[in-house]
């Protein structure tokens, strides 16, 4: 069954007259895929990812997550899904300053129903999975860009979500660090069977994916397996 199914998604921000950010987008994604979304700047990639990640709502069209239309969820249920079923990785890392890597990774658990006894184990294994064990007590200010993004990935992993969304996760990193982050994401996809949907505009990053969706002017221009 499809994990994600969207039909004819449209998004109007209202301000930009006549030009919708998304203009009729439809596709399916199954569990376990690693999908890269590419396209020029302003083409609607982030908008699409935000809608898929329950951070925003489409103006029209349908979105089924795990077979259920998101129209059926209440505001609080959406928050719960954001917490338990998805993990989000941002270009700007968005780690809390003055909180250690451990504390940052713990954050989603504070809002979860995961029993407290499991927290420590989950936090530590998430941090190990991104290779940051030696930085566990450090503040974000003491980390390099690549390490920050790995901490952010650990935070996305800690609730063991069904799908991880990453919006230009390597956009703020040099190519060496970007490659390391991508290795971690592909590894999560291959060995741990995490579904990963990432936005990028670098061909070198897109080659890690098993499927490439190309977006332009709010529409899907191509969608192919590689």
């Amino acid at each position: 069954m499809n994990l994600i199914e969207v039909k004819n998604l449209r998004k109007d921000y209202g301000e930009t007259e006549g030009v919708p950010a998304l203009n009729g987008v439809s596709f399916n994604i199954s569990a376990g895929e690693l999908v890269a979304i590419m396209g020029p700047s302003g083409s609607g990639k982030s908008t699409l990812l935000h809608i898929l990640g329950f951070l925003d709502k489409a103006s029209s069209g349908q979105y089924f997550f795990d077979g259920k239309s998101i129209e059926d969820y209440s505001e609080d249920e959406l928050a719960k899904i954001r917490n338990s079923k998805i993990g989000f990785v941002f270009q700007a890392f968005n780690l809390l300053a003055r909180n250690s890597v451990y504390e940052n990774v713990k954050l989603p658990l504070l809002y979860s129903s995961v029993p407290e006894g499991e927290w420590d184990g989950r936090i530590r294994s998430s941090i190990e999975a991104v290779g940051l064990g030696h930085r566990i007590g450090h503040d974000p200010a003491q980390l390099s860009g690549g390490e920050k993004q790995r901490a952010a990935i650990a935070r996305a992993l800690v609730t063991e979500p069904d799908v991880i969304f990453a919006d230009e996760p390597t956009g703020n990193l040099d190519s060496k660090n970007g490659e390391a982050v991508m290795k971690i994401l592909t590894n999560l996809n291959m060995s741990l069977k995490h579904t990963i949907i990432l936005v990028t505009h670098e061909e070198s990053i897109a080659k890690f994916a098993g499927r490439l969706i190309y977006v332009k002017d709010g529409k899907i221009e191509s969608d192919k397996k590689i």
């Binding site: 917490n83 989000f88 954050l107 609730t159």
Partner: protein, 412 residues
């Protein structure tokens, strides 16, 4: 989010800006300090006054002419002449007021006295020999007058310490004669300095037999007060009821609303004074409360700043699963923690200052001022400061909770 983590999250938020948090709560600290101070001093003053009232003996019932005064400046009863000799005779009958031990008449008024070239305006207090027992008065020099001098209309006087100082200075007073309203009185005794006792200050009084006071000083046939002593404290209420019945019969009064006398016990006096000090305390507390409002506005202001500064954090928390309610509670709790800490500090400072004041009053003015920590005010202080956090924190917290996660994350 679980309450436990809500607390640590909020404390962390505050800890990031320690000096700013401290300055913000100053308004609350000052307001709560002022309230504790006022309430503690009000309580101390009330205790002081009550302890002085008790100097009259807790079994004493006061009967005054006229109607019940409606307030502290209502003197209507002074001009009434309803308490007569006949009333004393009726009240004295055992079958009428079985629990009355003594019925003591009192007349009083301000008069000039002179000795040689010295003059002094004092209060002439006419009563009988038993009044000295009721007020526990003993002579410092000489003796007190006795029943035979009261019955025999003897012009003798026992003077208070201030009267003695004003007229005689350091020289001997006992045995000398002073003039009051053209009549010579022989001083037979001097009272020690005693200060205010109940409503009377015997230091500025000349106590003479009431028979002489009625006839030669005031020229009246009625009385200003009856002091009635009950045999036991538990009989006071019954005695008061009997006294009212006797006096109504004697004065032909059928409607209690038309009483031309009123009866007051120590308990009544205490509660009247309690009411006055309570009103004063309340007034001062309301003034102090203004600074709490100012403090609350300061809290609201700083919380609005915090919400704006932490827009990105709010966006992140929402994107990883915080509900609107989680965010609301986090910022509301921060405001409440801020104001409650202010309240605790204020309670500590208020208690400290009022303790210092009580020590100063005792040491310098010689008042028997007893310090008591106002537990009620402390509880009130905590509650009020918490409520201020709630009231002034709710608007910033709502603002935080309603932020759209995407826009919040994009905030720079």
């Amino acid at each position: 989010m679980r309450t436990k983590f809500l607390f640590s999250t909020s404390l962390r938020g505050l800890g990031a800006h320690k000096s700013r948090s401290f300055l913000t709560i100053l308004g609350i600290v000052i307001g709560i300090t002022a309230i504790i101070l006022v309430m503690s001093i009000g309580q101390g003053a009330q205790n002081l006054i009550l302890s002085q009232i008790q100097g009259m003996g807790s079994k004493t019932i006061v009967v005054a002419p006229g109607r019940q005064p409606s307030g502290p400046s209502d003197f209507a009863q002074i001009f009434s002449d309803s308490l007569k000799k006949r009333d004393i005779d009726l009240l004295s009958l055992k079958e009428n007021v079985p629990y009355a031990k003594h019925i003591i008449p009192v007349v009083f008024g301000g008069e000039n006295s002179s000795y040689g070239d010295e003059t002094y305006r004092m209060t002439v207090f006419g009563s009988d020999e038993r009044v000295f027992d009721i007020f526990e008065l003993f002579p410092e020099a000489g003796v007190l007058f006795s029943e035979s001098e009261v019955k025999g209309h003897q012009p003798v006087v026992v003077i208070g310490s201030t009267v003695k100082d004003e007229l005689f200075g350091d020289s001997e007073a006992v045995g000398e004669r002073i003039r009051i309203k053209g009549k010579n009185f022989r001083i037979i005794g001097v009272l020690p300095k005693k200060g205010q006792v109940s409503f009377f200050n015997f230091d500025t009084m000349a106590v003479i037999p009431y028979t002489v006071a009625q006839e030669d000083i005031f020229g009246i046939k009625y009385y200003h007060r009856f002091l009635i002593e009950a045999d036991q404290e538990s009989h006071i209420d019954a005695a008061v009821d009997d006294i009212k019945i006797v006096l109504r019969n004697s004065h032909n009064i059928t409607d209690p609303d038309k009483d031309d006398f009123f009866v007051e016990t120590q308990a009544d006096l205490a509660s009247r004074i309690g009411t006055i000090t309570d009103i004063l305390t309340l007034l001062l507390v309301s003034i102090a409360a203004i600074s709490l409002v100012v403090g609350g506005i300061g809290i609201m202001n700083i919380m609005l700043v915090a919400v704006t500064e932490r827009t990105k954090e709010i966006g992140l928390r929402k994107s990883i699963g915080a509900t609107n309610r989680d965010i609301l509670r986090q910022f509301l709790l921060e405001a409440i923690v801020l104001t409650s800490v202010g309240g605790l500090v204020g309670i500590f400072l208020g208690a400290l200052f009022s303790f210092i004041i009580s020590v100063v009053l005792t040491k310098t003015l010689g008042l028997s001022w007893s310090y008591s920590f106002p537990v009620f005010a402390a509880v009130l202080g905590i509650a009020v400061s918490g409520i201020i956090g709630l009231v002034f924190g709710i608007y910033p917290a709502r603002k935080a909770s309603r932020k759209n996660p995407i826009e919040a994350l994009r905030y720079e």
